[in-house]
Every structure is written in C-alpha cells, then in structure tokens.
Symmetry: C2
Subunit: 461 residues, 2 copies
C-alpha cells in the first residue's frame, strides 16, 4: 500500500519562485490606456510597491523568496501532497491520482502564499496599510492574515450581501485585526455614489474593487492588494508547484496530466507552471498535459473572447488582453464560490490561446457530485472551487479505466469547504441545478465593449 | 530557528494503543446497578460489541490497533506536532511550547480516532448500524465518517436547538451518508414522550442519549457509539500521545508539563497517558506534571463531587464513580462548545482524586482571549474547547517567564474552530461575559442524588 501523504521538511521549501514570463511562447501584450488608445500602465504603478511592479514585468526566471516571507510560510508550508488511494479504489482506475492540498493554511486556501508576500513588500517600502476587496471572504481573510504578520493595517471592502449573509469569514478577518466594511460603504466616493442612487444596494465585486482602489489612490499610507490575475500573484503561487515536484520525485513519479480550477487562474498556474518549465526547457520526462477547469455558469476561458478588456466593472484598470465575458458580466446566483470572475489571468489566457493548455467547463451539479465522492473516499470536504478540479481529475481517471492506461494524474485541491456548508446543504437537498451562461450574453457584452472602444480591434497586439 | 512542524511518516504510526487500567494507583470501582444496589454492568453489554467491552476492562497494557483501522487512520495520521514559535515569541517566555494538532482529521478533531475503531468492531461483529447522539455535531460528524468507512449505517440524534441553529455539522454528517434526526424525535418512545409533554421542546443531550440508546436496545442490527468518558474511548485516543512521544524524541525533548482541556476527558487522556506510563514505569526523564483544564461554567472536576452518579440525565446508564455536577445538570447558555458534560471519565476522575493530575477552571472570556492571541501568533483558529488548553499553556509559559525556567510545555489542540465562528463573533463584539457555575447548585444536585439513592454513600467502593 503506498503512503497516502508525501511530506517535505521545512528546509525543503523552495527558496525561489518561478517566473514564467521569459518562457511564454511570445511576450505578453502591453496593457492599454483607453484615453490614449495606446500602451500604458494606468493606475498600476500608483497602488503597488515597486518590488511588486518589478515582479509583474520580471525578465528573471527565478525570483528569490525573501527570508522573512519563508519564515511566515513555515507556519503551514510545505503543504502535503496526497495520493488519492481511496478515490482510485472507488473509481477502479489503473491511474495514479495525486492532489496537492493547500487547505492547511491559516485561512484555508492557497491565497496566503501571495498575501504574505504582498504584505511583506508593502511593509518593506514603508506602507502602513493595504486596502482590498473581497466577495465571500476567501481572499479577504488571506490578506488580513498576511497584513497581521507584518504589522500592517488592513481594510477590506466586503460585498454587502456576503457581509450580511456569510459573516464567518468576516469574523476570521476581524480575529486577525482587519477592518471590514460592507461595500458599498460611505468611506469612498465610489461607495457614496452607489448608495445615493440605491441605499439598499447589496454590492458587487466590481463596486468593492472600485472602493479599495480609490482608498489606496487617495491615501498616501495605503496600497492595494489583489488575490489573482496579476503576473506577480501567479509568481508567488509557484511555491505550490515547486514543492509538488520535489514530493513527486520522492515517490519517483511525474504527472501525465495536471488539473486545476480557474477563477482568476492563480492556483492552477501555481501548480502547473513549474512543470511547464520542465517541458519548455526539455527537462520533462513526459509530454505532460495541463487542464484548466471552470464553471459553465462563468465560462470565461471556454466561451469568453480573447481580447482587450477592463479588469473591473468600473473601468478603473487599463485594458488587459485576456479571455473575458465582458467587464459588465454579472455572475448568476449560483454557487461555485470564487469561480465568478469575468476575466482570466493574461498569462493563462495566452497559454490557452496558443494551445499550450486545455480547458473544460463543468456545471455545478456534476461538480458537487465529484466533491461528495471525494469527501466519502478521501475524507476531505473540499471547497466548491477546487471541486471543479476534482471532477476533471475523475474524468481523466475514468478515461484511463477505459483505455487501461496507468497514467499519473495530479490535481490542485486549493482549499477546504468548511465555510461552504450552505452550498453542500443546497446540493444535498436537490436545490442546485445545472446552469450554462448563455453564449449570446457574451456576444452582447463584446458588442458593448466594441461600441465603447470602436478602435479596440485595431490595436496591433 | 527550530522547525515549526515535527512530522512522522505513516510507517511511524503506533501499532498498539496504550491501556492505562493496569497502571492506575488502584482498580477502578465497578459500576453499580441502582435496582440491585450492587455492582453490575447495566445496559452496557447490550449496546456495545464484545471486543469493545473487552477493551473497557482490559488487563493488557498494550492493545493491537487492527490493520484495517490503521489503514483508515492513514487518511490523516500521523498528525503534526507544532512548535509554537510565534506564541513563544509573543509571550517572551524562555519556555518551549509544543502542541499536538488533531484538527487535520476529516471531521476536524480527535474524535475520529475512536469513531473509526468503534465502527470497525461493530462491522466485525456483524452489526449494520450505529446509533448515537450529538450536541453541536462534533462527535456526530466523526461517527458518521467512521461508519461510512466501514459501510455501516449511522443514525444521529442531534439536539433540536443545534439541528435548527447550527446546521453545518449536520450537513457534514449527511455528506457522509448519516441519517440525522432532530431530538426529541418521533422515532423513539423517549422522544415521543417528551414531544407529547412539550411539542416545542428544543431538546438536550440527555434526551438525545436516551433516544440513541433506546434505538440500539430495540434494534438487533444496531449498536450504540459514544464519543468520550468510557475507558475504551480513552484507549483509542492514546494514538495521539504515542505519536507525540516519537515526535518529541526526534527533537530530543520531553515535556515538563502536559496541558489539555476536558469535556468527558478523552482528548487530554489520549495525549498524557502514554507519558504517565513513562512516569509509573520509571522511564520518564522528568517528573512531568499533567494539567486538565475545564470551563468555570461547567466545572465538573474542580467543583464536582467524586461519587457514584449516572452518566446520563435519563438514568439509563448504571452508576459510575466519577467527578460529577449531578446528572440533572443543565449547562448554562454559554459557549465553550463540548465542555458541557456533567461528569468526567472515571479514569481521569480517579487520577485527579489520587492527585496524579492537576486541574484548573477558566472562564470563557479569558479562554477566547487566549484563542485570539493564538490565532494571531500561530495562524490557527482553534475550537473553543482546546482554547482552554491554550490558556493553560500560556499561564504555564508566563510562570516560566517570571522564574526564568526553560521548561517544555506540551498541550493538546484537539480541533479547529471553523464551525465555531459565531462564538468568536460574539466574543469580538463583547457579548461574552465571565460566568461561574454556582457552588450551591452542585450541592443541591448532590442532595437530590442522595435523596434518590439514600444508600449511595454506603457503597464499599
């Protein structure tokens, strides 16, 4: 019987992150400032520390992880790699299934990997506070933890409906000394404007982003923190994949396929890009496939168009080349937690466009079916987001069963579901139904975007 | 900088549990059947498998852990031992603080250590179902998991007020295929009787126990499962302390004091009794102290009397010699989660009576203060129950700071607090107040017990 858990000592934790930028098939397109109809960074340099900006455009393949950050990582890192012995048995598959589990972190997901780093660089450059937004609180709780470790203040604009209906991650943030405001709030111009129009507004992630960015822009002591999409966030997450490579080396194995879920894309990228490096540098023993899974309710990479769009609803960010459902996308009222963002990280979008990664969308019912089987065979209650990856891994394992191939499947279990039990209750009570975001809605959004910026298709990138 | 985590490989997991019975200062008194006013096992042999009964009275110091149980243990065991680097630094103590963390188990506490074993022995002896009770669901979710792993059905009588107000652990049980009934239910005579008197009854643990035991007694295919107090439960939990000994050996350390919280007493016993064995067998390098902490709101061991009493409110169990607040104790409406039982495991009660262990009670405000400091320094959100142990460890560490002693403190962190965020919210909002259960209430209970059984003080045990 193989070991279920493959563990590393703290000394085996990576000392550098891997930056994929030099290894992309071609350079990332620049961001575009709509007013100039030309390349420009927009507000980006005004709300991030210099070191983060440098990482955003790094030409170095390897970036040192500061010792102070590694010291905090040691609270929960290295994280365990599990062999899914129980799941393999239940599926009767000849495939070997492994999963990297990030749920043992303080906030219960992979998010602190970047939150701690962001807090460190802000502290280092003399900032006293980070402002950010959060939906249900997964990212908010991570940055609250990160700020606390480096004695920064933390202001979180939390979407009002979550603030009212899902208070438990708010409590976690407050336990770590963050100041949490329901958004729209009276703290910002953006919030006050919305509240004037609709005093009962339940908020949206777009509004919360606007508030957090305005807060950072208008306060000298504060910067902004972000939980996904940006290159530097994907960079910080590579500690996950680098650990996993060492863990698989210990059992003399290597993945044939790597599966992850994508909201913005940072957890999946964190796991697979170090293996992508093996492939492009000729070091990979196998022609590994990379499979990104997402929700049919928010099919950014499978149905979205690869074009320039804003990263936020309020159009504060510059235009970014990525797969998008349109910056005015309103997520349908379904679960799937964090997988509700209209765009996808530019790095991941390009890799999909260049056919370096595969993509697949699943509906919420089949995703919760997979989570249930996983809980019953592996004992772990997974968050809805990584349950998309579980579903993807199960499908790959079942295909191996048909073909008789003894492939090695690796997937990312980026967090536990202890704060998502309402979704599991709805599922068990049969209240969840399959849902597909309509193709024509995407086309309408793209039409609106082209009406807004008629020159957008003439950009030479 | 020392490692924060001391890990074991799966092969290093203990192969035997440690049974303290042969090493007690004197034999445990027998249980008494009130009708006979004489020793007798009461219903005990009717609701447990033979192997469990044998373990309950084991004369063997070492009991083999079945290979099938170890195979399931491997899902989460061995669990990590942490060096509390962050807490030590915050306290500026010369003491070294370690904690054994059981929150990585499927249900998030130490409870599956015995749930899996109980399910195994029931399956082995041909039973098809386990019936049990649960309050907020910590034990219920563990036994649901245990039953699922050995394909037993599981019926959980869950106190109605928790069933309605704290649904998330119910969802976890259902995800693992348990059938959960709000108690009082219409499924049993006991439940129906209560509902007839009060259709709006919100239930109590005492009622739920009556329902579960009646279910087991009246159904041939079913047995009863219990989460603490009984000798066999304490036995199964010793896997915790045996692992910890190996982990401390790896860093060449040994505890001067071991701290745990006690509800029934199984988690604390699981940690300290293997070290107690060292002491009585002359193998201990230090004169280790053992400190049990409990809630001032339910001060069973610090204020309760050491005498014969029933284990349940409905007087179904035989009389057990233990520290008790009286079987008609009604817990005050405070938090502190599982630490609400009127009695204490007979083994632990005798050790306290014989001055082999120390005891201390803390109020809920100082306990949550300790949990907050712990979350801020170690990153982990602890359950309210083990936060009593955190408080105890902090007090010991602060005493070392005063005296300058470099003692080694070990405590039991038996579970995470992800399902207790409402309690943390109440604490942060200042809604929790110190509370001490009145001494005179204990005296009244004892008076009622002596009126019920006037011969109780004449028993020669």
């Amino acid at each position: 019987m193989p070991s279920r858990k493959i563990l590393l000592d703290e000394e085996e934790m990576p000392k550098q992150w891997y930056c994929i930028l030099p290894d992309l098939p071609k350079p990332l397109p620049p961001t575009i400032e709509p007013a100039k109809k030309a390349p420009g960074p927009g507000i980006v340099p005004l709300i991030f520390p210099k070191e983060i900006i440098a990482q955003e455009f790094s030409k170095d393949r390897w970036v040192d992880i500061p010792e102070e950050v590694r010291e905090i990582y040691r609270i929960w890192r290295p994280t365990p790699l599990y062999r899914a012995v129980g799941l393999e048995k239940a599926l009767k598959t000849p495939a070997k299934i492994y999963y990297k589990y990030e749920g043992t972190s303080p906030s219960g997901s992979h998010k602190p990997n970047t939150a701690v780093a962001q807090a460190y660089y802000n502290m280092k450059e003399g900032k006293e506070r980070i402002a950010t937004e959060t939906g249900a609180g997964q990212w908010g709780s991570a940055i609250a933890f990160g700020c606390m470790t480096f004695k920064l203040d933390c202001t979180v604009y939390m979407v009002r409906v979550s603030y009212d209906q899902k208070p438990y991650r708010r409590v976690m943030m407050e336990l770590w000394d963050a100041k949490v405001h329901p958004s729209p709030s009276t703290k910002t111009e953006a919030g006050r404007k919305i509240l004037k129009e609709d005093p009962e507004s339940t908020g949206s992630l777009g509004i919360a982003i606007s508030e957090a960015v305005e807060d950072a822009l208008t306060h000298e002591e504060a910067n902004y923190g972000i939980g996904s999409v940006f290159n530097h966030v994907l960079l910080h997450q590579t500690v996950v994949g680098l650990e996993t490579k060492k863990q698989l080396e210990k059992v003399e194995d290597y993945p044939d396929v790597i599966v992850g879920c994508i909201g913005g894309g940072s957890s999946f990228s964190g796991l697979f890009t170090p293996f992508y490096y093996d492939k492009v540098s000729g070091k990979a023993p196998k022609d590994t496939r990379f499979l990104a899974t997402e929700a049919t309710a928010c099919p950014s990479i499978t149905k979205g168009e690869y074009m320039f769009d804003h990263g936020d609803t309020a159009r504060i960010t510059p235009l970014i080349k990525m797969h998008t459902l349109g910056h005015d996308f309103i997520p349908p009222p379904i679960h799937a937690g964090g997988l509700r963002y209209h765009g996808i990280a530019p790095i991941l979008s390009m890799l999909a466009q260049e056919k370096k990664i595969e993509t697949r969308a699943y509906d919420q019912v089949e995703v919760f079916d997979a989570a249930r089987l996983f809980a019953q065979t592996e004992g772990l209650v997974s968050a809805p987001e990584p349950s998309h990856a579980i579903k993807g891994a199960i499908d790959e394992a079942l295909r191996c069963k048909e073909t008789g191939e003894e492939k090695t499947i690796l997937f990312m279990l980026c967090g536990h579901g202890h704060f998502d039990m309402q979704a599991f209750d709805d599922y068990l009570q049969g209240k969840l139904l399959p849902y597909e975001y309509p193709e024509e809605e995407v086309q309408k959004s793209m039409k609106r975007l082209r009406e807004l910026y008629p020159w957008i298709d003439t950009l030479p990138y």
